[in-house]
C-alpha cells in the first residue's frame, strides 16, 4: 500500500529547498561571521598565526579532565532526566486530559521564573541549615548536616532539575501524538501490557527521546553558571574555563581554541551519530 509513502520521509529527492535561501543568508551573516571569527581567533596570537592555544590544551592533562568532566556531567544528567522524564511524561499521558493539563503546569511554571534565581534557591535548600538537611536530621536519618554544596551531587541534581522540563516536554509532545488504538490493537492480538509497551509504544517515542536527549546533553555540557555556583574545583567545566580565559586570564586565543575543541568534538559526535543512526530513517521509520 502507500503506507510508507504517506509518511514524511525525506523523499523529495536531491532538490534543494529554495525557500531555505533567506534562512541561509541569515545564518551566513549573523552566525557565520562569529563562527569564522572564533576559528580565526583560535590561531592568531600577538605575533600572527600560532597554535599555542591548542598546544596549551594538549600539554595540560588538567584541561583534558575538565573536558571529560563536562562530557560526564552531560551524560549523567541525560541518564537521570531520561529516566525521570520518561516516567513523568508517560504518566501524564495516561491521565485524563484535565488532570494532565493541571499537572503539566508544574512542569511549565519553573520555566517561567529566572533560572539564576532557581539555582540560587537550590543553594538555600541544600545548605547546611537548609531544608533538606533539616528534614533529614528531623527524621533522625543523619546526625550532622551533610555537605551538599561543592559536591557532584549538588551540581548533577541542579542540572537535572534545570533540564528535566525540556525532556518531559519533548517526550510528552511525541507521546501525546501516539494513537492509543495501536496499543489496544496489540493487546487484542494477545500481547501482554508489558510487551505492548515495549514493542509498540517505546519505539514510537523514539523521536521524542532523541530530541530530548540531544537537547539535554548539549545544554548540559554548555552550562557553567550552575556548576560554578553549586560546585567546587572538582566540578570545573569547560565553559567555565572558557569564561575565565576571557574575563580573568584575558587570553582570547586560548578561549577561542577551547571553543573550537568543544565544537569539533561535539561535531564529531554528531557526525558519528549520523553514520550509525540514520536520523531520517530512524525518526520516520517507526512503522
Amino acid at each position: 500500500m502507500a503506507a510508507t509513502s504517506s509518511r514524511s520521509r525525506a523523499g523529495t529527492g536531491g532538490r534543494f529547498p529554495v525557500f531555505l535561501t533567506p534562512v541561509l543568508i541569515f545564518y551566513a551573516v549573523f552566525f557565520g561571521y562569529p563562527l569564522l571569527r572564533i576559528f580565526w581567533q583560535s590561531v592568531s596570537g600577538d605575533d600572527g598565526f600560532t597554535l599555542v592555544g591548542f598546544r596549551m590544551f594538549l600539554e595540560e592533562p588538567a584541561y583534558w579532565m575538565v573536558l571529560l568532566y563536562s562530557g560526564f556531567l552531560g551524560l549523567l544528567t541525560l541518564a537521570i532526566t531520561l529516566v525521570c522524564g520518561y516516567a513523568v511524561a508517560y504518566w501524564l499521558v495516561t491521565l485524563e486530559k484535565n488532570w494532565a493539563v493541571v499537572l503539566m503546569a508544574f512542569v511549565l511554571i519553573p520555566f517561567w521564573s529566572s533560572g539564576l534565581v532557581r539555582t540560587y534557591a537550590w543553594l538555600v535548600i541544600l545548605g547546611r541549615q537548609g531544608i533538606l538537611n533539616s528534614t533529614l536530621m528531623h527524621f533522625g536519618w543523619i546526625d550532622t548536616p551533610m555537605p551538599f554544596i561543592g559536591t557532584n551531587t549538588a551540581v548533577v541534581f541542579a542540572l537535572a532539575y534545570y533540564l528535566l522540563p525540556y525532556m518531559i516536554l519533548s517526550l510528552y509532545s511525541v507521546m501525546n501524538g501516539i494513537d492509543k488504538n495501536l496499543l489496544l490493537a496489540a493487546r487484542s492480538l494477545g500481547a501482554s501490557p508489558m510487551s505492548a509497551f515495549r514493542h509498540v509504544f517505546v519505539p514510537l517515542t523514539r523521536p521524542g527521546v532523541l530530541a530530548g536527549s540531544y537537547m539535554v546533553f548539549m545544554l548540559g555540557i554548555g552550562m557553567y553558571i550552575t556548576p560554578a555556583m553549586l560546585g567546587g574545583p572538582n566540578q570545573t567545566t569547560l565553559p567555565l574555563m572558557i569564561a575565565i580565559q576571557i574575563n580573568e586570564a584575558m587570553d582570547w586565543t586560548f578561549a577561542a581554541a577551547l571553543s573550537v575543541i568543544l565544537l569539533v568534538i561535539t561535531g564529531a559526535m554528531q557526525l558519528m551519530a549520523n553514520r550509525f543512526l540514520d536520523f531520517d530513517r530512524l525518526w520516520g521509520g517507526a512503522k
Binding site: E60, P61, A62, Y63, M65, V66, Y69, L123, V124, G127, R128, Q129, P147, I149, G150, I225, A228, M229, G231, G232, P233, N234, Q235, T236, L240, M241, I244, Q245, I246, N247, E248, A249, M250, D251, F254
Partner: protein, 346 residues
C-alpha cells in the same frame, strides 16, 4: 489655512525647535558613568554622582554592572558607551597596557586633591579613589577567641568548621601563600604550586562560591564559619547585628580607580567630574556607608573617629597588611587559571 499662513507656521515651529534643541545642548552636558552596581554604586550615586549633577547641571547617566570582557570589546571596537568607569587595579593594568585608556591630566587636577595622594598611586591612566581590603571574617559565636592569621584559617584542628571563599575566578592563593610561610615579611613573588597545594590541603573543609555576595550569604546562613572577603561586603551583616567580626591581620589592600576609556565621547566632561570628586572632603563621604578607605590621606581629616579604624589604609591598621601586587597577579593570571584546573583534577 492659506499656503502663506501654513509656511509661516512651519517656519516658526522649526525656529522654535532649533532654539529648543540648541538651548538644551548648551544647558546640559552628558556624562555616562559605569560602576559596579549594588549598594556600592548606590552610595556613589547618593554622595558623588547625584550631588555633582545637581551642583553643575550636568546630565549624569549611570550604568551598573559589566564584566571585563565587555569593557574591553567596547573600547577596542570604538563603540565607547561610558565616559568614566570604576575599575579595579588589575583591570587598569591590563587596559593601560593595550593602550585602551585616556591619560589622566594630572596637571589640571587641583593641588588640594593631589597633595594627599601617595606618589605610587598617581597612575598616568587612572585616578585612585578608594581602596578595599581582602580580609578574613568569621563567626564570633563559633570562634569566640577568633583566628589571628591565615595559618589559623588553615588550622582545622584548632578552628574546626567550614571555610568559604570565591573559587575559580579568584582563588585565595595569596592567603594560602601567607599560610605556607607564616613568618615571612614579604609575600610577592610566591610559589603558585605550593599555594595551590596548600589549598588542596583544606579539601572539603572549604566551600567555594561563584561571587562575593554568595560567600557573605554563606557566612550569614551558618553554612561556613570563616571566609575570605572584601571588607566592605561585611557592612550589611554587621549592620544587621549578626555575630561576625573582621580580622585585619595580614589583609591585602586593592585600590580602585576611575578611568576614562580611550575614545570616550565626553572625555572632557569626565575630567571635570574628576576635578570635582577628587576633593578629600568628597572622597571621605563614601567611607562610612561602604567602609572603603580613601586613598587620599588628606581625606581622613573628614572621617569620624569611629569609622576610621574600619577603613583599609588608615594609619591604625595599615601596618597589619600590605598592598596587593596587582602587576604580579596580572602576569600570572594564566598560571592561576591552570592551577585551578589542576586543583580540580587531583
Amino acid at each position: 489655512m492659506s499656503c502663506k499662513r501654513l509656511r509661516e507656521n512651519v517656519l516658526a515651529a522649526g525656529a522654535a525647535l532649533t532654539l529648543a534643541f540648541s538651548a538644551a545642548q548648551a544647558a546640559a552636558e552628558d556624562l555616562t558613568i559605569l560602576s559596579l552596581g549594588g549598594s556600592y554604586q548606590e552610595n556613589q550615586s547618593q554622595y558623588w554622582f547625584k550631588p555633582y549633577a545637581q551642583a553643575t547641571g550636568v546630565n549624569v547617566k549611570e550604568a551598573a554592572g559589566y564584566n571585563f570582557a565587555k569593557l574591553r570589546v567596547m573600547i577596542q571596537s570604538g563603540n565607547v558607551e561610558a565616559d568614566l568607569v570604576d575599575l579595579s587595579a588589575d583591570s587598569v593594568n591590563a587596559l593601560a597596557k593595550d593602550g585602551l585608556l585616556e591619560p589622566i591630566d594630572w596637571a589640571s587636577i587641583p593641588e588640594s586633591c593631589k597633595a594627599g595622594v601617595p606618589a605610587e598611586m598617581r597612575n598616568p591612566y587612572a585616578f585612585p579613589t578608594i581602596q578595599w581590603a581582602m580580609v578574613m571574617a568569621y563567626n564570633t559565636k563559633t570562634y569566640p577567641k577568633g583566628p589571628k592569621s591565615w595559618a589559623d584559617f588553615w588550622d582545622v584542628k584548632a578552628f574546626p568548621g567550614k571555610r568559604g571563599s570565591i573559587g575559580a575566578t579568584r582563588p585565595p592563593i595569596e592567603q594560602a601563600a601567607m599560610a605556607v610561610n607564616p613568618g615571612s615579611a614579604t609575600l610577592y613573588p610566591f610559589d603558585l604550586g605550593k599555594a595551590f597545594d596548600k589549598l588542596s590541603e583544606l579539601g572539603s573543609n572549604i566551600v567555594y562560591s561563584d561571587g562575593y555576595a554568595q560567600v557573605v550569604q554563606f557566612l550569614a546562613d551558618g553554612e561556613v564559619d570563616m571566609i575570605v572577603i572584601p571588607n566592605g561586603r561585611m557592612v550589611p551583616l554587621i549592620a544587621e547585628g549578626k555575630p561576625v567580626a573582621i580580622n585585619w591581620n595580614q589583609h591585602l589592600r586593592f585600590p580602585n580607580f576611575f578611568v576614562i576609556p580611550k575614545g570616550a565621547p565626553h572625555a572632557k566632561a569626565a575630567h571635570k567630574f574628576l576635578n570635582w570628586v577628587c576633593e578629600p572632603k568628597t572622597l571621605a563621604l563614601l567611607a562610612r556607608p561602604t567602609n572603603y578607605g580613601p586613598i587620599n590621606t588628606d581625606a581622613y581629616q573628614f572621617i569620624d573617629k569611629d569609622v576610621a579604624p574600619l577603613l583599609p589604609g588608615n594609619p591604625a591598621t595599615a601596618q597589619l597588611g600590605r598592598v596587593a601586587d596587582t602587576g604580579w597577579l596580572g602576569e600570572h593570571r594564566q598560571d592561576i587559571a591552570r592551577g585551578w584546573a589542576r586543583l580540580g583534577a587531583r
